[in-house]
């Protein structure tokens, strides 16, 4: 099957070169041409609008419709737009804290629901689904009413001024993590856990060396969802944000309602570039041995 050896549209070409050129194994689906075609087409669809967005950030026109020549001026404008930068930093800070806390809470609850039988479990599970089920706007309003009624302080110094947004984000994103992690836990061979305990491992050791490594792909997927949800959320944030806690989506939303200027495109492009760099660095620093963990499936 030689078709699989061409450079795949999904960016797989480099990897093919690195591997030995051999016949495609039955399970090497990524080396099959039809798989590459489907995945490549999907990624093309996913990225075409983004590429366009990046291209238009260099457009010398106030509106994203006709190409009027190349310019960097919108990057300069975005860079000098203090409130945009501030919103950007706020968003990242919220997303990072949210990802950490929501992932921990989500994993805990997923393990608890998988492992234990307890009275009222069905109701508990139902409540856990609530944040997924509730329309965003309703939750936003609920959060706003809640923070107004408890008199959440508004004049706090920087990271704390974001606290109510963080709380709200964690509340709606950790159930998403729980759902994702639970999907992974279903079918986990409990004998492994029992064996570990029989061999004298403590509860913590079993968790640390048996359960968590197995869960790793689920946790990564869940964390990615939590990060994405937080970074992307507009509705709930809008209702919980005050004058000193504007996030990027809220800022951008108020800007684009009057038309999408290339300044917004420029800011988004910077966001993409930063996340790409951060990801590449994170992958570099991740040691190969750790990466191999959790693959025994």
């Amino acid at each position: 099957m030689s078709a699989g050896q061409g450079a795949g549209p999904a960016g797989g070409g480099k990897w093919t070169v690195l591997r030995r050129r051999e016949a495609v194994g039955p399970l090497e689906y990524t080396r099959r041409w039809w798989m590459r075609l489907t995945v490549g087409a999907t990624f093309l669809m996913l990225y075409a609008p983004i590429i366009l967005l990046v291209v238009y950030s260099f457009n010398d026109s106030r509106r994203n419709i006709v190409w009027r020549g190349f310019t960097f001026k919108y990057y300069e404008k975005a860079w000098n737009n203090e409130s945009l930068i501030e919103a950007f930093v706020n968003s990242l800070a919220i997303a990072v804290v949210n990802t950490l806390v929501a992932t921990i809470l989500g994993v805990l609850v997923a393990i608890a629901l998988w492992r234990f039988r307890f009275p009222g479990k069905a109701a508990y599970e139902g409540f856990m689904m609530l944040p997924i089920v509730i329309p965003e706007i309703c939750m936003g309003v609920a959060m706003m009413a809640f923070f107004a009624r408890v008199g959440w302080p508004t004049g706090l110094p920087w990271p704390l001024t974001l606290s109510n947004i963080m709380i709200a984000h964690i509340a709606f994103s950790f159930p998403f993590v729980a759902v994702t992690v639970r999907g992974r836990l279903v079918g986990f061979n409990r004998e492994l856990e029992d064996a570990s305990k029989d061999l004298g491992a403590s509860e913590w050791q079993t968790m640390r060396y048996i359960v968590l490594p197995y869960l790793r792909p689920g946790i990564i997927a869940g964390a990615l969802i939590a990060f994405t949800l937080s970074l992307d959320d507009f509705v709930i944030t809008f209702f919980t944000a005050g004058p000193n806690s504007v996030t990027l989506p809220v800022k951008i939303f108020s800007m684009v309602r009057f038309s999408v200027t290339p300044e917004v495109n420029a800011a988004s492009t910077v966001l993409i570039v930063i996340t790409v760099i951060a990801t590449v660095l994170a992958m570099r620093f991740q040691s190969p041995s750790r990466r191999a963990g959790g693959e025994e499936g």
Partner: protein, 356 residues
């Protein structure tokens, strides 16, 4: 069981104060407690202030201004309804001034501190929606009308008929998703603020009948649709169309001959504002001739500030899209707050129109 869910602003304000004190903020957030910290939180629409206005004010008054943006009055209202999260100056439109004033969401403005009030055109010194101008100061005003592509229309579309009761431009029309019932009422010869169920129903039927010819109910982005050639006629606010007219000579704006909506955005201080003194200083600064002229010259909306107009040239003062003729204006009406019952009837009509 009876439970009132009114706002809890006083308590919230108090807690905000203690919260600030607890973390060691030295400035007292309340007027009575001493000198206000030199800060101001301004909540405004996007692209609705002069390029250097905030910096100029900071330099002049030594007060640091932070501007946040909202996209429409409903957002502003929804956000302040449960309590002010810390804004000092807001810019609601006339009917929302009335709404918020009625709901005690606005602080009275101390006229003694607004020395520049004399710059305001006498027609704007009092207002139906805020008798005696106790809670609001006029900022900008304008009209709603039809933005259109000159090369795509057979004649100037100076009637709501073109948008609401004709198939001539089928599939090339964008309407706003709000204010369509009101526009239809105007076309049918009724008041923009009609509270009559039968009249509202008639407007609803007209719109449902016209729906096949309408391309989209736009979210205040009719100007973009017009500029990108997606539609040739768009119901929009004059300022939005003016912005795209600068980019494309082929676009123009007209107020329909049946009359339309005339609006007025106002500077107000919301209840619970942490820096009301600074807010007064800021409002007074904006009503200043030079500052007002700089804003008007940049955002190209009609200013009620005569002293500011005197500093600007003819291409602003004589622009028919900014300042319609007195005759046109006479046929326009401001939106009024009509009470909850009518609001609900209109909302249900709107749902039926969109669902039809």
């Amino acid at each position: 069981m009876h439970k009132s869910l009114g706002r809890r602003i006083s308590r919230r304000g108090f807690l905000a104060g203690t919260g600030a004190a607890a973390v060691g903020v030295t400035f007292a957030p309340k007027v009575g407690w001493g000198v206000e910290e030199p800060k101001l939180n301004f909540y405004n629409w996007d692209t609705y202030i002069g390029e250097t206005t905030l910096g100029d004010f900071s330099k002049a008054a030594g007060i640091e201004v932070k501007m946040d943006l909202y996209a429409d009055n409903d957002e502003l209202f929804a956000k302040l309804k449960e309590g002010n999260p810390g804004y000092d100056v807001i810019v609601p439109t006339n009917d929302y001034v009335e709404r918020m004033r009625t709901a005690k969401m606005l602080l009275p403005i101390n006229r003694a501190l607004i020395t520049n009030f004399k710059n305001i055109d006498s027609a704007f010194q009092d207002a139906e929606f805020d008798p005696g101008r106790k809670h609001s100061m006029p900022y900008m005003w304008g009209t709603q009308g039809i933005g259109y592509r000159k090369s795509a229309v057979s004649s100037t579309p100076d009637s709501w008929k073109v948008l609401l009761d004709s198939d001539e431009y089928s599939g090339r029309i964008a309407l706003l998703s709000e204010g369509i019932i009101e526009a239809a009422l105007k076309y049918l010869g009724y008041s923009y603020n009609s509270t009559d169920r039968a009249e509202i129903k008639q407007a609803e039927d007209l719109l449902i009948r016209q729906k096949p010819h309408i391309k989209v109910f736009a979210e205040d982005n009719g100007q973009d649709l017009l500029l990108s050639g997606e539609v040739d006629l768009a119901m929009e606010w004059n300022g939005d169309i003016l912005q795209v007219m600068e980019e494309d000579d082929d676009i123009s704006y007209v107020v329909p001959k049946e009359g339309s909506n005339v609006w007025q955005d106002c500077l107000c201080i919301p209840t619970g504002a942490p820096h009301p003194e600074n807010a007064h200083k800021f409002i007074n600064f904006i009503l200043d001739a030079k500052a007002g002229a700089a804003i008007a010259d940049f955002i190209y909306y009609a200013t009620p500030n005569n002293a500011a107009r005197a500093l600007l040239g003819d291409d602003y003062n004589k622009n028919p899209a900014i300042f319609p003729t007195a005759e046109t204006l006479a046929r326009c009406e401001p939106s009024l707050y009509l009470g909850e019952e009518v609001e609900r009837i209109r909302e249900e009509s709107l749902t039926r129109i969109f669902a039809a």
